[in-house]
Symmetry: C2
Subunit: 337 residues, 2 copies
């Protein structure tokens, strides 16, 4: 392509100075109506497109926000992203999404690029929330908010949902429904989410005075559908009197896999096996046996995260806040049948 026209070309073509062209672009009211029109016509004729690099270099500020997501194929994160998008749009910023696909390397290379681009702020659901790369990024001045994860210390803004409470809600619901032998399905335990949900589950179990060994743990290597199916087979393989009558899964993907396996093996849900998922993604309600699940306020999570990062970017007196949302149990047929 021919090198595209610059303000200078437009100025020459319209017979005005280059400062005036810039004024038309940035303070149209400072310029008389007829010159303004002349300049705009010149822009149209030359196909002028503002060079954002130059603009940003001079102005020092970019008009974008970025969200580095852990796994774009998990609907939970796309819903969070939609919430961020709403807030970004309200602030007249564009949201760029990056997918680290569970890889630290990809995550770090995206973060490095974003820092070089001087984006207004970075939202990130990190592979490892305690990675020092995040500290360095923040320390050098990029506003960073951690999404759906928390840190041991309070050195960042973060938004997350109370997973311990969520685990408790799930188990209390199953206990209410009369179950006395329940499986917790999820893993790996290196994920904070998994640990917290399990911890809440155990606390509720203990509080109900039920014997510890009747909360059976089935560990998976990832939180996806395939692992849910696999866990279902292990469950099915257990001796009948030891087999749990209900399962609480660490997320909906696992729960859907488990549901599929159970129905495929001819079991009735919830009569033979009740199932509770986590996240309440759209496909949970749309499953053939609609799934009871712990709902997280995904959109609000994203919206709040965006507001925090914008505050950090704009407000010099910004103080870090850790926002914790409250989850909610949505009971459906997979436990109510």
């Amino acid at each position: 392509m021919a090198r595209s026209a610059s303000v200078k070309d437009v100025a020459a073509h319209a017979g005005v100075s280059l400062g005036t062209v810039s004024n038309v672009l940035n303070r149209p009211d400072r310029v008389s109506p007829d010159t303004r029109e002349r300049v705009q016509r010149a822009m149209a004729e030359l196909g002028f497109v503002r060079n954002e690099s130059a603009r940003q270099l001079r102005a020092g500020t970019s008009r974008t926000l970025a969200y580095v997501m852990l796994d774009a194929s998990n609907p939970f994160f796309t819903d969070v992203a939609a919430g961020i998008d709403v807030a970004a749009e309200a602030a007249d910023l564009s949201l760029m999404l990056f997918n680290s696909r569970n890889s630290s390397d990809r995550e770090h290379s995206h973060l490095a690029l974003l820092e070089q681009q001087r984006v207004q702020g970075v939202l990130v659901t990190p592979v490892d929330p305690d990675s020092p790369a995040l500290d360095e990024l923040a320390q050098r001045g990029t506003p960073v908010v951690i999404v759906d994860r928390t840190r041991s210390d309070q050195s960042f803004c973060s938004v997350a949902v109370d997973d311990v409470l969520g685990g408790r809600l799930a188990i209390e619901h199953l206990i209410d429904r009369g179950h006395e032998r329940v499986a917790f399905v999820g893993g790996p335990a290196t994920l904070g989410q998994v640990r917290d949900r399990r911890q809440g589950a155990r606390a509720a179990w203990k509080a109900a005075g039920l014997p510890r060994e009747d909360l059976v743990e089935i560990s998976t290597t990832a939180l996806d559908v395939a692992q849910g199916r696999e866990a279902g087979q292990r469950l099915a393989g257990m001796a009948a009197q030891r087999r749990p009558t209900a399962a609480f899964c660490a997320n909906d993907l696992v729960a859907l896999g488990l549901l599929q396996q159970a129905i495929g093996a001819g079991q009735q849900v919830p009569a033979d096996l009740a199932i509770v998922g986590y996240d309440d993604i759209e496909f949970a309600a749309a499953a053939a046996v609609p799934l009871t699940s712990v709902r997280q306020p995904r959109q609000e999570l994203g919206r709040t995260a965006a507001e925090l990062v914008l505050d950090e970017a704009a407000n010099p007196a910004h103080g870090h806040r850790q926002v914790l949302f409250t989850p909610e149990l949505v009971a459906r047929a997979s436990t109510l049948g």
Copy 2:
């Protein structure tokens, strides 16, 4: 934050000229090992971060590719995005994702920003593939590839899947299974996909010599789960001898909604109603009655699109190509029971 250090600061701190710092950054081999090390130490001490705007302004080239997706919450598109990502990574570019959420306005504002950013190339699944905004963008020199849509003319590179064939495969499968009254569920007809799939369905129906009125059309206002449920209710409301024994849905989300409604109403799938979806998203196989679906090579779609846009960016002799992939029917329990 304190304004971050520039090459000039690094040069001063390391006691070298500014050109040398740039060499360390871009041609490390041209610089002697000890000065290189000195400069690198200075960078680390000052927390130097290269300013990408300035780099890009001078170098004229960005290191990013962008995909403007129609609906990030549809797993089909995130899978396509993953395919693009793989190819982008291989070319050492970063992929930025934007979500237009089915809005032309959002799509256009994203495209405008990307043009200003002078990205290497833009991949887009547009709300309206015939929008003149795309022509203008391409005409001004930004490489553009249309993904999962096609244009009447050949003025763009595009990658898509043969939807007419896909529709034919679905209906032929149902005819093979002995169905003689089938519903086509989908809409709105303004979507090229819907039109093509329906056209293929009709062609196959006609080729089998079946009466036209026995391919019943149930039109939806969108291709999502809620509309699928709604369509299910309309189906259920039909008089028994007029009611189709099978449904071909224009995508999997609709099929899942239909499946849910049917099972909720106590019907047996496929005995009372066989269902074929389209896209073969992961949740199709994971549904409680695994869904027969028409699979599209999603990742390959993305990968090919990325390769086309990179060729257009790099190769002056580039000619536009319209790549059409072949879909494939994956038969599962929802038609095989």
